[in-house]
């Protein structure tokens, strides 16, 4: 399912003394099956954008096209459930949304709301609990007896159980330990590839953006100021610095290596493996000379 934002502007508390312009003139498209990373400094409007993707907020100007629905400014929208069914959103600290007596019931909450029969929802819960890396016994426990990391996984399973076509992730790994971060990101990436889910990842982690995204958007003070492939964007660190952002550690290492050795590698490397390969090739070339 394609999503398009067309010159979207959003003002919080419009028409009161508390009015605040959060985003303006934001346009971009997310083709079906793409992995898009949205990065930017705190308060740059990333989370506001996310809430437009499933019509939790309606633009104050411009319009958002979600599949065959057009959410335009100033129009009263009815039956937004059909939009939200297709766009699953994992909010920041999703563990705060758990409320049921058992993990199983909580995972089923979303699907049942969207009209999935209970037996089918339970079946999905059983399947997903393994996928998010928890044992099946957890299903009968109270979500409030779990650890923070486990609660996060249950909450994510609750969103995945809706079987959305588009997955929106707002810093899904914030506050997790390094292993948990990696596991969860890998899980999202596998889902993205295997089921062809469109994925939108909002993150502070340049490493995650570099590792997983096909396309990257840089937000600054409510505007989109750069869009491109991670490799292109990360090869101009000085531009990123202007927006208060840095490059992944691998890129930083490559840069200091190039500055110190005088050897320029053929491409900007985004992973340690890539970098190792490039370095080996540079060594060979050096040896051949």
């Amino acid at each position: 399912m394609d999503i398009q934002l067309q010159e979207v502007e959003y003002r919080y508390a419009a028409g009161t003394p508390f009015e605040r312009l959060a985003i303006q003139d934001v346009s971009f498209a997310i083709p079906a099956g793409a992995f898009l990373a949205v990065v930017g400094h705190t308060g740059s409007g990333k989370s506001t954008i996310i809430q437009h993707l499933n019509a939790l907020l309606q633009p104050t100007k411009g319009q958002v096209v979600i599949g065959d629905r057009v959410i335009a400014a100033g129009k009263k929208e009815k039956n937004l459930k059909s939009v939200r069914k297709k766009v699953g959103t994992v909010f920041q600290f999703p563990e705060h949304q758990l409320f049921e007596e058992t993990v199983e019931k909580d995972i089923c909450y979303g699907p049942v709301n969207f009209g999935v029969p209970e037996a089918e929802a339970k079946e999905r819960a059983r399947r997903l609990i393994g996928q998010v890396g928890l044992p099946e016994e957890v299903l009968q426990k109270s979500p409030f007896d779990l650890s923070g990391g486990q609660m996060r996984r249950v909450a994510i399973a609750g969103v995945l159980a809706m079987e959305p076509e588009v997955l929106v992730l707002d810093e899904p790994t914030a506050g997790l330990d390094p292993r948990g971060r990696k596991e969860i990101m890998e899980m999202f990436y596998t889902l993205h590839r295997e089921r062809g889910l469109s994925t939108i990842l909002v993150t502070h982690s340049m490493e995650d953006a570099a590792l997983y995204a096909d396309e990257m958007i840089i937000m600054h003070q409510g505007k989109v100021c750069k869009q491109g492939k991670p490799r292109e964007l990360f090869s101009h660190p000085e531009e990123l610095a202007a927006f208060g952002l840095s490059v992944p550690e691998v890129v930083r290492f490559q840069q200091s290596f190039e500055a110190l050795s005088g050897i320029t590698l053929e491409k900007t490397c985004l992973t340690i493996e890539e970098l190792a390969e490039e370095l080996a090739r540079a060594k060979e070339r050096g040896g051949a000379k």
């Binding site: 939790l56 459930k81 705060h96 409320f99």
Partner: protein, 265 residues
């Protein structure tokens, strides 16, 4: 949805009313609430209305914003107005239809009561709009001090109040976040039959309570870690200064009360 609410909100502006000592404002508004009941005829109500308008003008708060904030109570006002119209049997009969009888006294009484409501709401919302929650707490603590002799735990009350005031916006934000998270999972808070809507609130209330408990625990631990042992022997960081204009505000209130006493019939 909650963006339009003005109760309990603070608008940081620069005005005479903003600069008044919170104690003066609290006393003033407490006095005003009593004084409002002195008015009982057109002249005294007019006096009160003019006075309130001047007060609003001095506070530099946008009138349109104040009026927008009235929306939640407008029904209450309309309801009392209608009650008075239909139930007060005084003065000349104006209108009769079946068992409905509208008397001149009822209309007048209804109008006065609604006006009284309006004035009370305006003036009391001005208190929170022009005074930061922290100053209100400081003011209350200082005003309640005499009651310490009556074993009233003044410090504890003030502490609880300042913590609750501090967390109102935080909890509001959190409510909003959880609401949106559940809406993204297909919850529907704004349509359907009453029974369904009440049920829909559970996924909102439980996470909110759970996080409030957690927050309370974390806050208590953090306070203890920073050496908080209760009110005994604490010094104050923010000090209140009573100035000439504060005395003036109270004198104006007394003058108003005298005028009302004189004009009432």
């Amino acid at each position: 949805m909650m963006e339009k609410m003005i109760f309990g909100r603070y608008l940081p502006l620069q005005s005479v009313v903003h600069r008044l000592d919170p104690r003066a404002k609290l006393l003033f508004i407490f006095g005003f609430v009593i004084v409002v009941f002195l008015a009982n005829n057109a002249l005294s109500y007019g006096l009160l209305a003019v006075f309130t308008l001047v007060f609003i003008y001095l506070s530099k708060i946008n009138v349109r914003f104040l009026l927008a904030g009235l929306k939640p109570v407008i029904w209450l006002i309309a309801f009392t107005f209608l009650l008075h119209i239909f139930l007060t049997r005084e003065g000349d009969l104006l209108f009769e239809a079946g068992f409905l009888k509208v008397y001149e006294g009822g209309v007048r009484q209804g109008a006065f009561i609604s006006l009284r409501f309006l004035l009370l709401i305006f003036v009391t919302s001005l208190l929170t709009l022009t005074t930061s929650p922290i100053s209100i707490t400081d003011g209350l603590e200082s005003l309640l001090k005499p009651f310490k002799k009556l074993k009233l735990p003044v410090h504890e009350l003030a502490l609880m109040m300042s913590i609750s005031l501090r967390f109102i916006p935080t909890l509001m934000d959190e409510t909003d976040k959880i609401m949106k998270a559940q809406m993204a999972r297909g919850a529907d808070f704004s349509s359907g039959p009453i029974k369904e809507r009440v049920k829909a609130v559970i996924p909102l209330l439980i996470p909110l309570f759970v996080s409030a408990f957690k927050r309370a625990e974390e806050l208590a631990v953090a306070m203890e870690a920073r050496g908080y042992k209760g009110g005994e022997g604490r010094t104050k960081y923010r000090l209140l200064h009573w100035q000439g204009r504060d005395t003036a505000a109270l004198i104006i209130l007394v003058v108003l009360a005298a005028l009302l006493w004189w004009t009432r019939s």
